[in-house]
Symmetry: C2
Subunit: 217 residues, 2 copies
């Protein structure tokens, strides 16, 4: 790893935790909007996000100048800006690979559509599943994947199959030109640098808890 890729890795890591906080701030702002609040302070956002007001100001300063000293942030302005920054001002086309329990749970998840994530299809190789629907979403044969992608141009692919076949599926996804992948398979996958792969690992989430339980005062 040379200096440049190392720096790149650091920048990427900072961005990921910052982006996560922006997502959390946006959720709070939307609660404020529902309650009719028009302004919010960095202290209030910090308190709810379990961080500091300095961190809130720093996070937001990456993306421009928000808020007025002493007056706080305008709730509608800041939430609009955050939606824009997070790429939520548009629709994203998503495909899910794997019609098992995780694929089914994702297909039914209402939060996706609310955020503009439109699930086009679920893919599977099992002939007993192909042709059925999951929450109104068609289960298609995986053999159609490449030709469908060429026609429908999804931007995001979700891998929801067991670990064994996951790298092979990722390679197929990468070859179609899709640049963003959410991986639920419990294995580390390798992709070219211009493809963003985010891993969701259920066992790792529980390990965060077993660590907390093992290291209590």
């Amino acid at each position: 790893m040379n200096e440049f890729t190392r720096l790149d890795a650091i920048v990427k890591r900072i961005a990921e935790s910052t982006v996560r906080r922006l997502s959390i701030y946006l959720r709070f702002l939307e609660e404020f909007e529902v309650r009719g609040s028009t302004t919010v302070s960095s202290e209030e956002l910090a308190r709810r996000g379990g961080t500091t007001s300095a961190q809130v100001r720093k996070d937001l300063s990456f993306f421009g100048s928000f808020g007025k000293r002493g007056l706080g942030y305008s709730v509608p302005e800041l939430s609009t800006a955050l939606r824009e920054i997070l790429g939520l001002g548009r629709e994203w086309r998503v495909v899910i690979i794997g019609a098992g329990k995780i694929g089914a749970a994702l297909a039914q998840y209402r939060g996706f559509r609310q955020r503009g994530f439109n699930i086009l299809a679920v893919y599977d190789s099992n002939p007993e599943k192909v042709g059925r629907t999951l929450e109104g979403i068609e289960i298609r044969d995986m053999s159609r994947f490449e030709s469908d992608v060429e026609r429908e141009r999804p931007e995001i692919a979700v891998i929801a199959i067991p670990g064994e076949g996951a790298q092979e599926v990722l390679d197929r996804i990468v070859r179609t030109g899709i640049k963003a992948v959410l991986n639920f398979a419990p294995v580390q996958l390798h992709a070219p640098a211009d493809v963003t792969v985010k891993a969701v690992n259920m066992a790792m989430e529980l390990e965060g808890l077993s660590f907390a339980l093992s290291n209590r005062d």
Copy 2:
């Protein structure tokens, strides 16, 4: 937020990202074990974890002195130590609240048992689900929850129900004395400081990708 709770929040945040990296290092070490490698350098762990060797050494230094200068880390020693640090040297009893798609996906997830997470039961209030099984795990009536916890003493509870009832369920969990909760409901939950609540939010994972796609060069 006073100085102390602020510091506490910062420490907590560092710990969470460090713990996540420890989980990732452990996965690589287990791959090395399978391949029969006996030593690994901090550079190799860093390369695979998308971080720097300085970060690897810093992460591990929190928990003691590992490795020999110039020789790297012993794979079996370091993986044993990481399992110990992550609280994986024992069995954890887990209950899942909610027998919907997410609850079902979690119940079937083989990675949990491999890591020592033993799912005792799934709870639901729907009479049509109660009494059935999910992958051999009993679905019990939520009305039994408190008395079961008193008898079986689970350490970890997973909330896998929609947002509306989630805070109420968390309050019930907290009253039983359970100190670690994994939350899949897409809402921010409030718990006493001595209860660790980790949130898994599917829409936020996708937002990390829409951000990456929107902010490409």
